[in-house]
């Protein structure tokens, strides 16, 4: 069951389970609310209830005073929902974020291609176009298994009737195995979306740097195609890494784009390409290539990261040492229960 929680000023709605706290639901949906102690003592996560009924839970009487309870304030870390609720929280407004309601879509598989030995491109023609922001993802129902898996949309929003998913097969993964082995052209598929708060900060009018690796190319590709189609004249750089040349899918497309658009710079990088191959590009990791390309100075950029956790971590460190900080670094974050239990310092909020 559960109730719907709307978070102002974002206007975004998330579903909250009966026993789930507001804070937990928001963090899992990728919405960062200020918080610290997580058990009702410090009041960092205080929010205003605009509409609906909540239960205050274990909030300390010192952290949430009686007069505040009268004013319909509550602590997100303890509060649970008793009805559909709207809260107002201390969240920075994002002028570039579109609030798009999540919907269910159906479509037919129109094309399947091997992009690399382990990644398939799957195209689905939807019965009705999906409106989304480049960088967002959809949940794909895995046939009769009764669960779904998230995949970033690899196509730009302009081609919204036919969506493209790039799916890397995960060893032992039921969902990706099904998509790779049991899905065929002509099959009917259900998807829900769009989800996520990963999007280009266009209004900042600043150069953007995309760092992608592994199967993390989908969102950056969608974002870059979207920017170029919209006629952006800001410098756009893609630093894109794989292990070997055979895995560097869409290499030819980006090479062509960099010739077509003078403001688009393409920096491919391979970490394990055989010595003596005909590869003339950068060898090493994405963060090394970015550091070399920018001379260790990333100031003035907006950086968008997508890829495996180790790559993300190395990229953040490199960016910060090149004087680009949290406020200008963006990444898609999928939080799991295991992440919440990790010992993490609260030094950074989003990264």
């Amino acid at each position: 069951m559960g109730y719907e929680l709307t978070i102002e000023p974002l206007g975004q709605t998330v579903t909250v389970d009966d026993e789930q706290t507001i804070l937990d639901a928001c963090l899992r949906a990728g919405i960062w609310l200020p918080h610290a102690c997580c058990h009702g003592l410090c009041a960092t996560c205080k929010v205003q209830v605009v509409d609906g009924d909540i239960e205050h839970g274990e909030a300390s009487p010192f952290a949430l005073m009686d007069f505040e309870r009268d004013e319909k304030k509550t602590l997100a870390c303890c509060a649970t929902l008793q009805s559909d609720v709207t809260i107002e929280a201390d969240i920075d407004e994002e002028p570039d974020a579109e609030i798009i309601k999540v919907r269910d879509f159906e479509g037919t598989v129109s094309r399947i291609e091997d992009l690399t030995p382990t990644i398939k491109g799957i195209w689905i023609r939807l019965d009705e176009a999906i409106h989304f922001q480049a960088g967002q993802y959809v949940n794909v129902s895995i046939g009769e298994h009764g669960f779904s898996r998230p995949f970033s949309l690899a196509n730009p929003p302009a081609t919204g009737t036919e969506i493209e998913l790039n799916v890397r097969i995960v060893p032992g993964g039921v969902g990706t195995a099904w998509l790779h082995n049991e899905l065929h052209v002509g099959d009917r598929v259900k998807v829900a979306g769009p989800y996520g708060r990963f999007f280009v900060r266009k209004s900042a009018q600043s150069p953007s740097l995309f760092m992608a690796g592994g199967s993390g190319l989908s969102s950056p590709r969608s974002m870059i195609l979207d920017l170029l189609e919209a006629g952006s004249d800001q410098p756009i750089t893609l630093v894109y890494g794989q292990r070997v040349k055979a895995e560097l899918y869409y290499h030819d497309e980006f090479t062509a784009l960099s010739q077509q658009y003078p403001n688009f710079h393409y920096v491919p990088v391979l970490s394990s390409e055989a010595e003596g191959s005909d590869w003339t590009g950068f060898r090493g990791f994405v963060h090394d290539a970015a550091k070399a390309h920018f001379g260790n100075d990333f100031r003035g950029h907006k950086a968008y990261l997508c890829g495996p956790p180790l790559m993300i971590d190395a990229c953040i460190t490199t960016l910060m040492q090149g004087r680009l900080f949290e406020r200008d670094i963006y990444q898609e974050k999928f939080l799991s229960a295991a992440d919440a239990q990790q010992v993490r310092s609260p030094l950074f909020r989003k990264i």
Partner: protein, 521 residues
């Protein structure tokens, strides 16, 4: 007459952030008839470069009018509970009167720091050019004053029943072990505004405060002291603000200019070690002074510093900041710190305003479990020896005065990082004078600013120089007893305030008033 109706869309409600900005930084201005550099004369000399105060991210968004309302409500609640505690003689519900000695040490050693923090933040709030930072510091200054006041009420209550709490402010400026917290804070307050806020908001409030607060508050709860627990809740809602301020300060300084990084690193090194040495007092509270123990010092250090602090410094590494220097020494010392400290206070208990005692057999068993590599082999024999002496009516006390470290002012009882049986001595010569230190950490701090630390007011030196007697005292008079005179100068009630717990006035009163044994079973 018909007014033309022009339907106007109401202005969009301001976000909390915009609203807060208007009520804080929106109230600041660039001075015109005085140079800004003259108005804020102290925010440059430390070498910290700030290019854009607007990049300051407010760690919390609390405006002054809301602040008063919240704090007023908190006070009402807190005093209602404290009143009820007093009316019900809550002080007699604690485990036994040994517990009160933890409070005595906290209330005489830490409560005056709350007042010092009030002064320090008032100073910082005056000196920062950025309006938001000034307002955050101003609120914290008022918080700290509130905490100091609240604790003064606690002191006043416990003072009616137990010894040693009759004049904490007088003692704070004189007593040897209280010079440890006092000099720590004065070191911070006599630095520039950026060093002060890094030292107190970040190194202390953020990195180390859990080690002070958690054991103290949990210790109070375990031992039935509900007044202190309530104070803890009331203060924690402020502390979280103070901690987020500490984080923001350090991020902000580090992001503003790469030249700030080495300066901040030096401060983190210094203030980690200063804070850690101060926590020596907490280690013995946890392992020896709480009749019912919460966790051992070693466990607390592992959880709050090695784990949580480690995660923090992992993140800070992205700014080019490394773990504070000598953190590994602190980890080596964690299995001996409290034992060495308590033994020293046992030695000099007659010159302290709280009692000491040999741990009970059950406590020694707990200590042996918590410290399997050190307690039975290194520390138990000494306690057993002292217990035997005491049973023969020869309770040991040390008639001489200890040598103090020039920087942390703790008696030099710490042992070599790699040899817990050998006292650690370090020394250096500055302008033909020799100075002594308890550790490489303190020696380095001295080496970086010798002009500052040669001025330290070291209680033992001052006694030997004859500066710790009451006016009119004649040290040449026949039968003059220097120690007794020093204790008079401290304002102690000699024979009541310090010394052995068993048989003390506190212990006798406890049994008489409560009918319970002086040492709980």
């Amino acid at each position: 007459m018909n007014m033309p109706i022009t339907p106007q869309k109401p202005a969009k409600k301001l976000s909390l952030k915009d609203n807060y900005n208007l009520l804080t930084r929106g109230l600041g201005w660039e001075t015109s008839y005085q140079d800004m550099d003259k108005v804020f004369a102290q925010d440059k000399f430390e070498g910290i470069k700030i290019h854009d105060w607007d990049k300051w991210e407010d760690p919390f968004r609390l405006t002054m009018d809301a602040y008063w309302k919240y704090q007023g409500e908190k006070e009402k609640k807190l005093y209602a509970i404290v009143d009820a505690f007093q009316q019900n003689n809550g002080q007699f519900n604690v485990t036994d009167a040994r517990y009160i000695n933890t409070l005595k040490l906290f209330l005489t050693g830490v409560s005056p720091l709350e007042y010092q923090a009030h002064r320090g933040f008032a100073m910082v709030g005056r000196n920062f050019r950025g309006t938001s930072a000034r307002i955050a510091a101003q609120m914290q200054a008022i918080d700290e004053l509130r905490h100091a006041q609240t604790q003064a009420h606690t002191i006043s209550h416990y003072n009616k029943f137990f010894s040693g709490l009759h004049d904490p402010t007088h003692m704070f400026d004189r007593v040897w072990y209280l010079s440890v917290p006092k000099s720590y804070f004065e070191d911070a307050m006599s630095a520039g505004p950026f060093e002060f806020i890094t030292a107190i908001s970040f190194s202390f409030e953020y990195v180390l405060t859990n080690l002070l607060f958690m054991p103290f508050m949990s210790g109070a709860a375990y031992n039935g002291d509900m007044a202190t627990v309530t104070f803890g809740f009331s203060a924690q809602s402020d502390e979280s603000r103070h901690m987020t301020l500490g984080l923001e300060v350090v991020k902000f300084i580090l992001e503003q200019d790469p030249d700030n990084v080495p300066i901040v690193q030096k401060w983190l090194d210094k203030w980690f070690w200063r804070g850690y040495r101060l926590l020596t007092l907490v280690s013995m509270m946890m392992d020896y002074m709480l009749p019912k123990k919460v966790m051992s010092w070693a466990e607390a250090w592992e959880m709050y510093f090695e784990q949580n602090g480690g995660a923090l410094f992992n993140d800070l590494a992205r700014y080019g900041i490394r773990m504070p220097k000598y953190h590994e020494v602190a980890s080596k010392e964690k299995h001996r710190l409290s034992h060495e400290a308590w033994a020293t206070f046992y030695n000099f208990s007659h010159a302290a305003a709280f009692h000491t005692w040999v741990p009970e057999e059950s406590e020694m068993k707990w200590l042996a479990e918590k410290y399997p590599t050190t307690f039975d082999s290194l520390y138990r024999p000494r306690f057993e020896h002292w217990r035997e002496q005491q049973q023969k009516g020869e309770r040991f006390s040390n008639g001489t005065l200890p040598m103090l470290c020039q920087v942390c002012q703790v008696p030099m009882f710490f042992t070599e990082p790699d040899d817990p049986t050998k006292i650690c001595f370090r020394e250096t010569t500055y302008r033909d004078e020799k100075f002594h230190f308890c550790s490489d950490g303190c020696k380095d701090i001295f080496g970086n600013e010798p002009e500052k630390y040669v001025q330290a007011w070291l209680p033992v030196h001052q006694i030997y120089q004859g500066n710790c007697f009451r006016p009119g005292t004649d040290p040449t008079a026949p039968g003059f007893e220097p120690l007794a005179e020093v204790l008079q100068y401290y304002g102690f009630h000699v024979g009541e305030d310090g010394g052995e717990y068993l048989g003390s006035l506190d212990a006798r009163n406890w049994t008489q008033w409560t009918g319970k044994p002086a040492v709980a079973e």
